[in-house]
C-alpha cells in the first residue's frame, strides 16, 4: 500500500498529484484534467479500465465506487462511461472515463470489484441500453415496467413525440406556456406586476 497523505502536494497544493504520477508510471500517460483540487478526471482507453480499477481498488486508498453513469455523445457516436472512485481517507475523487461504441454498446462489468456496481449496471442497461456481460440482473426491469420503446435516456429518443403518442392531452389545451393563459386572463401587465 502506498503512503498517501495530505503532505504529498504538488506545487499548486493539489493533493491528487501523487496518485496521478503513480497511475502515469504504471499505466501510461492518460490525459488528465484537474477539475477541482479534489476531483481529477482521467480519460482511459477501454482496454485499460479493468486493470486500472482493480489496482486502485486493491493497492491504493481509492476503494469506493461512488457513482457509475453514462453520457451520450450522439454526434461522436459514442457513450462515455464515468466511474467515480473515491478515497475516503484522502477526500479525493477520480473520474475515470472510458468511451464505448454507441451501436454495439458493451463494456466490461466491474461487479467483481464492487458489488454495488450490479445496480448501476442494471440501470445503465435499462436507461441507455449499454450491455455489461457477466453482470447479474442484466435486462431485469428496474425502474421502467413493461417498457417497449428504445431506452429513454438515449438522446435520439424523442420524449415529446413518445409522450404525445402515449399520454393524450386534455381537450382544449392549446399551449404549455402558462404565461399565455395568465396573460389572457389578467393581461400581460397583470402577469408581469
Amino acid at each position: 500500500m502506498f503512503d498517501f497523505n495530505h503532505s504529498n502536494l504538488d506545487e499548486n497544493g493539489n493533493p491528487g498529484a501523487e496518485i496521478v504520477s503513480r497511475i502515469h508510471d504504471r499505466f501510461g500517460n492518460f490525459p488528465v484534467h484537474v477539475q477541482k483540487p479534489d476531483l481529477i478526471r482521467l480519460n482511459v482507453p477501454q482496454t485499460d479500465i479493468i486493470p486500472l480499477l482493480s489496482w486502485l481498488r486493491t493497492e491504493t486508498p481509492f476503494v469506493q465506487l461512488t457513482h457509475l453513469t453514462a453520457i451520450d455523445w450522439l454526434e461522436e457516436d459514442e457513450f462515455e462511461l464515468v466511474y467515480l472512485i473515491t478515497a475516503p481517507s484522502l477526500c479525493i475523487s477520480l473520474m475515470v472515463c472510458i468511451r464505448v461504441n454507441r451501436e454495439k454498446a458493451e463494456a466490461e462489468s466491474v461487479f467483481n470489484l464492487w458489488l454495488q456496481a450490479e445496480t448501476y449496471e442494471q440501470e445503465l442497461h435499462e436507461m441507455f441500453g449499454i450491455h455489461f456481460p457477466g453482470s447479474p440482473r442484466q435486462g431485469v426491469p428496474f425502474i421502467l415496467e413493461g417498457w417497449q420503446d428504445m431506452p429513454p435516456m438515449r438522446r435520439d429518443f424523442d420524449t415529446v413525440e413518445y409522450c404525445n403518442r402515449t399520454h393524450p392531452e386534455r381537450p382544449g389545451r392549446e399551449h404549455h406556456d402558462s404565461r399565455i393563459y395568465v396573460g389572457r386572463k389578467f393581461g400581460e401587465k397583470g402577469y408581469l406586476k
Partner: protein
C-alpha cells in the same frame, strides 16, 4: 328483506338502502344487495330520502384519507393532518390501509408505474369512495407535461370527484377542496365510484393503454 309496512315505518330493515336524494345516483349498496342494479324496491319515498340524507351527512362527516402519497403533493398532507391545519376538526382522519379508507388523495404527478399501484389500492377501498386530485399535474400534466413516464389526464384512468388547482396547493386549498367534497356528498352527487363501476370497461381500456405489463384482474372489487 321484508316488504315495506306502512304501519311500521320505523322498521329500517324494509328500506332499500340504495335510495338517495332526488336526481342523484344510488349510494352505497349494502346488505343483500351488494351488486349494481339490484334492489330498486319501492318504499315510502320520503322516509327513504330522509334516511339517505342522514346517511350522506354521516359519510360527509367521517372521511378517512388513505395514506398514499404519489408525488410531491404528499408533503402538504403533513401540515394538514398535524396541529396547524388540523384536519380532524372537519372529521377527516387518516387510514393506513385501503380497506379502511374512503378518500384517495392523488397528490401530484402520477407515473405509470405508480398508476398501477393506485388503481390496485383504489379498487380495494370499500364503496362509497371518493378521489381528490391535488395539483395541476393531475389536471393536465403540469410541469411534467412532456415526461415519458407520467400521465397527463387523471380522469381517463380513475373517476375524480374534486380537483384542486395549484402547484403546490396550500393546505387551505385542500381544506376548501374537502369542503366542496363534503357538500357534494351531502347532496348525493359525489358518485365517481359509481361511475367507475358502470364504465369499468372504458376505464380498463384506458388503463391498459399506458400500463403495458398489465397483471391486475379485469373485474373490480
Amino acid at each position: 328483506m321484508r316488504k315495506f309496512d306502512p304501519d311500521r315505518p320505523w322498521d329500517l330493515t324494509t328500506l332499500p338502502t340504495t335510495m338517495a336524494p332526488k336526481g342523484s345516483k344510488p349510494h352505497a349498496p349494502t346488505d343483500d344487495r351488494c351488486f349494481l342494479g339490484a334492489g330498486d324496491v319501492p318504499a315510502a319515498p320520503k322516509l327513504q330520502e330522509a334516511v339517505a340524507t342522514i346517511k350522506n351527512w354521516f359519510r360527509a362527516s367521517s372521511l378517512n384519507v388513505l395514506a398514499f402519497g404519489t408525488g410531491c403533493g404528499a408533503i402538504e398532507l403533513r401540515p394538514l393532518s398535524t396541529s396547524r391545519f388540523d384536519m380532524s376538526r372537519f372529521g377527516i382522519s387518516g387510514a393506513p390501509s385501503p380497506r379502511q379508507a374512503n378518500v384517495f388523495i392523488i397528490s401530484g404527478y402520477l407515473s405509470t408505474k405508480t398508476l398501477k399501484r393506485v388503481i390496485r389500492s383504489y379498487e380495494q377501498m370499500p364503496n362509497p369512495k371518493w378521489v381528490v386530485a391535488l395539483g395541476s399535474c393531475t389536471i393536465n400534466g403540469g410541469m411534467y407535461w412532456d415526461s415519458y413516464n407520467t400521465i397527463k389526464v387523471l380522469d381517463l384512468y380513475m373517476p375524480v370527484d374534486v380537483y384542486i388547482t395549484g402547484c403546490m396547493p396550500r393546505p387551505e386549498a385542500l381544506i376548501a377542496g374537502f369542503d366542496y367534497l363534503m357538500q357534494d356528498i351531502k347532496k348525493g352527487e359525489a358518485n365517481g365510484w359509481h361511475h367507475y363501476l358502470e364504465n369499468l370497461e372504458w376505464y380498463r381500456d384506458n388503463q391498459k393503454k399506458v400500463i403495458t405489463d398489465w397483471d391486475l384482474p379485469n373485474y373490480s372489487w
